[in-house]
C-alpha cells in the first residue's frame, strides 16, 4: 500500500501531541476560560482543531493522489 506523505504524518502528530502527550502541561483548572476549567477548554478546542488538521491532511493527500494518477496514466501511455 502506498505510504502517506510526510506532510500528512506531521499534521497527524499535532493532535496526538496536543491532546495526549502534553497532558501534564494543560491538566489544570486555572485559568478558567468561558467558565470552563482549562483542561476541558483545551480538549474541546482541540476537538475542533483536530477536525481541521484532518481536513488539511485530506486536501494534501487528495491533491497528491490526483497528481499520482495523472502521472501513472502518462506512464501507461508511454509503455
Amino acid at each position: 500500500m502506498r505510504r502517506p506523505s510526510l506532510g500528512a504524518i506531521f499534521l497527524a502528530l499535532i493532535p496526538f501531541f496536543a491532546m495526549c502527550f502534553s497532558v501534564s502541561a494543560w491538566d489544570r483548572i486555572y485559568p478558567m476560560i468561558f467558565g470552563l476549567p482549562f483542561n476541558i477548554f483545551w480538549l474541546l478546542s482541540w476537538i475542533v482543531l483536530t477536525s481541521i488538521c484532518i481536513g488539511a491532511m485530506y486536501r494534501l493527500e487528495t491533491s497528491r493522489t490526483s497528481k499520482d494518477s495523472v502521472r501513472r496514466h502518462r506512464e501507461n501511455e508511454l509503455e
Binding site: F16, C20, D27, I40, I47, S51, T62
Partner: protein, 489 residues
C-alpha cells in the same frame, strides 16, 4: 395521565418508531449476503457518518461518561480525547482497507486477515477473538438498556422485561434488513441523543447553579481535586491517561463491527471525508460530562455512578423529558447491539463455520446460517445480561484492550512488506493472553499504565521480531501489493 404512564408511553413510542424504521430499511433491497452485511458497498458520506456515529455513541458513552465524571472526575477527560485521535488514525488506514476490500470482496475483519496473510486458521482465530470480545460488549448494551428503561419509566417496566422486548425488536430488524437497518435507526437515535445530551448538559447546571460557568466555579472551589487527574482515583494519573488515550485511539476502529463498517462505503474518499467530520460529534459528549460533574454537587453519595445522569434528570425534568431520555437511551443501546449481533453472526458463519467445517456452503447458505445465528446470539446475550452482571465494567475494558490487539496485524499488513503470518499470529496470541491475564487478575493499571496498552507494545514487538527472525513463505503480501498497483517490487 400519571408521570409513570407519560414517560412509559413516550419511551414505547420512540422504541417502536425506531424499530419500524429498521424493518422498513431493508424492504426495497433483495437481501443477499453482501447486501445484508455491507449494504452492497453503496453508503455515501451521510449514511457512513450516521452508521459510524451510531456505532460509537453507545450506552457506555451515555451512562458511562457521566458515571466516570461523577465517580472518578478528571480521568473521564480521556473520553473527550480519544475519538478525534481515532479518526486521525482512521484517515490513514480506512481508505487502503476499503481498496483491498473492494478488490477481494471483503465483508468482515477476518476476510481482511485472510486476504493479507493467506491463512484460514489465522482468519478463524481473528473471528473467535472478535466474537469473544463482542459478547461482553453486547451484554453491556443490554444491561445499560435495562437500567435506562427501568429508571426512566419510574420502574413501570422492569429491567428484564425491557431487555426482552428490546432484544426481540432489534433481532427482528437485523434479521430482516441487516446493516441498512442499523444506519436508518441511527437517524432517529442520533437526533434524539443530541437533543437529550445538549438540553440536559445546559439545563441541569442552569437550574442548580445558574449556568455551566458558575457550576464549574463552585466545583473548583469545593472539590478542586475532582477536576484534574487523578481525580477521585489513586492510580489514574497522566501516564494512565496517555496510555489509555493511545490504546482507545488505536483500538476504536479495530472493533470487528467498526472495521466491517468501512466496507459499506461507496468509495475510499467517502471514508476520508467521514474522518474529517467525525471528531466534531465528540463535542456532544462534553455535555454529558457536564451533567456528571453537576451531579457531584447535586446528588452526592450515589453508590453506582452510572446512575448519576438518570438520577439528576429524574430530579430535574418533567416526566415527558424523562420519557425522551429513556427512549433515546434505549435506542442508544439497540443500535450498537444490532450491529454487534450482525457482525458476530457473520464472523461465525462466514469466517469460522464455512472455512473450517463446511467448505461447500454457498453465500446464500452462509446468509441463512448468519440469520439463525442472529437469533441464537440474541438469546445468549439476553441470558448473560439477565443472569450475570457482576464484572461488567472489567469485561468492557477487557474487550477494548482485546480488540486493539488486531492493530499490529492490520497496520503492518498495510504498510510493512516484511510482516509474516506467523509473526502476526504469535504477536496477537501474546497480546490477547497478556491482556486477559493482566485485566482478569486485577492488575490494571500496571505501573501507572493501561494494561491493554502494555500488551499492545508486547504484541507489536513480538510481531516485528518474529517476522524478521522466522523464515518467510513465498506466497504472501507481494501479490497484494502489486495488485493494488503502487510500489510493487
Amino acid at each position: 395521565m400519571s408521570p409513570n404512564a407519560i414517560a412509559l408511553s413516550i419511551i414505547f413510542t420512540i422504541v417502536v418508531l425506531g424499530s419500524a424504521i429498521g424493518f422498513y430499511a431493508g424492504t426495497r433491497h433483495k437481501m443477499s449476503l453482501e447486501q445484508w452485511t455491507v449494504g452492497g458497498r453503496g453508503f455515501g458520506p451521510l449514511f457512513m457518518w450516521l452508521l459510524m456515529a451510531g456505532e460509537i455513541y453507545t450506552t457506555f458513552a451515555f451512562l458511562g461518561a457521566s458515571g466516570w465524571a461523577y465517580s472518578r472526575g478528571g480521568p473521564a477527560l480521556y473520553i473527550l480525547a480519544y475519538l478525534g485521535l481515532a479518526n486521525v488514525v482512521a484517515f490513514f488506514i480506512q481508505p487502503p482497507i476499503w481498496e483491498l476490500g473492494r478488490e477481494h470482496g471483503m465483508q468482515t475483519q477476518p476476510d481482511f486477515f485472510l486476504a493479507q496473510y493467506r491463512n484460514k486458521y489465522l482468519a478463524a482465530f481473528v473471528s473467535v477473538v472478535g466474537v469473544a470480545f463482542i459478547i461482553p460488549y453486547l451484554q453491556l448494551q443490554l444491561t445499560g438498556l435495562g437500567i435506562i428503561v427501568e429508571v426512566a419509566s419510574f420502574g413501570g417496566i422492569g429491567r428484564t422485561r425491557a431487555m426482552m422486548i428490546a432484544v426481540s425488536l432489534l433481532a427482528g430488524f437485523v434479521f430482516v434488513s441487516g446493516i441498512r437497518a442499523v444506519a436508518w435507526v441511527s437517524v432517529l437515535k442520533d437526533f434524539l441523543m443530541l437533543i437529550a445530551a445538549i438540553s440536559i448538559g445546559i439545563y441541569v447546571p442552569h437550574v442548580y447553579f445558574g449556568g455551566i460557568g458558575p457550576m464549574f466555579a463552585t466545583l473548583a472551589r469545593e472539590k478542586p481535586d475532582h477536576l484534574v487527574m487523578p481525580g477521585a482515583t489513586k492510580n489514574l494519573g497522566h501516564a494512565w491517561y496517555m496510555s489509555t488515550v493511545l490504546l482507545t485511539a488505536l483500538g476504536a476502529y479495530m472493533w470487528p463491527h467498526s472495521f466491517g463498517s468501512s466496507f459499506t462505503a461507496r468509495s475510499a474518499d467517502t471514508l476520508r471525508r467521514n474522518t474529517v467530520v467525525m471528531p466534531l460529534y465528540n463535542l456532544s459528549l462534553a455535555f454529558i460530562l457536564f451533567t456528571g460533574f453537576a451531579a457531584v454537587l447535586v446528588v452526592p453519595g450515589l453508590m453506582n455512578g452510572d446512575l448519576s445522569m438518570l438520577t439528576i434528570v429524574r430530579k430535574t425534568f418533567p416526566a415527558w423529558m424523562l420519557g425522551v431520555v429513556g427512549g433515546a437511551g434505549a435506542l442508544t443501546a439497540m443500535v450498537p447491539a444490532a450491529v454487534l449481533i450482525l457482525t458476530a453472526s457473520t464472523l461465525f458463519s462466514k469466517n469460522l463455520w464455512r472455512p473450517i467445517f463446511a467448505r461447500t456452503m454457498t453465500d446464500d447458505q452462509v446468509a441463512k446460517l448468519a440469520r439463525i445465528m442472529v437469533v441464537a446470539l440474541s438469546l445468549i446475550s439476553l441470558y448473560l445480561a439477565i443472569y450475570s452482571s457482576t464484572t461488567l465494567v472489567s469485561l468492557l475494558l477487557l474487550g477494548y484492550a482485546g480488540v486493539t490487539q488486531f492493530f499490529p496485524g492490520v497496520v503492518l499488513g498495510l504498510f510493512w512488506k516484511r510482516v509474516t503470518m506467523v509473526g502476526v499470529l504469535t504477536g496477537m496470541i501474546v497480546g490477547v493472553a497478556c491482556t486477559a491475564f493482566l485485566i482478569l487478575s486485577n492488575r490494571d493499571p500496571i505501573g501507572g499504565l493501561n494494561a491493554g496498552f502494555l500488551s499492545l507494545c508486547f504484541n507489536f514487538a513480538v510481531t516485528v521480531l518474529v517476522s524478521i527472525l522466522a523464515p518467510v513463505k513465498a506466497a504472501k503480501l507481494a501479490e497484494n501489493f502489486s495488485a493494488s498497483g503502487s510500489d510493487a517490487p
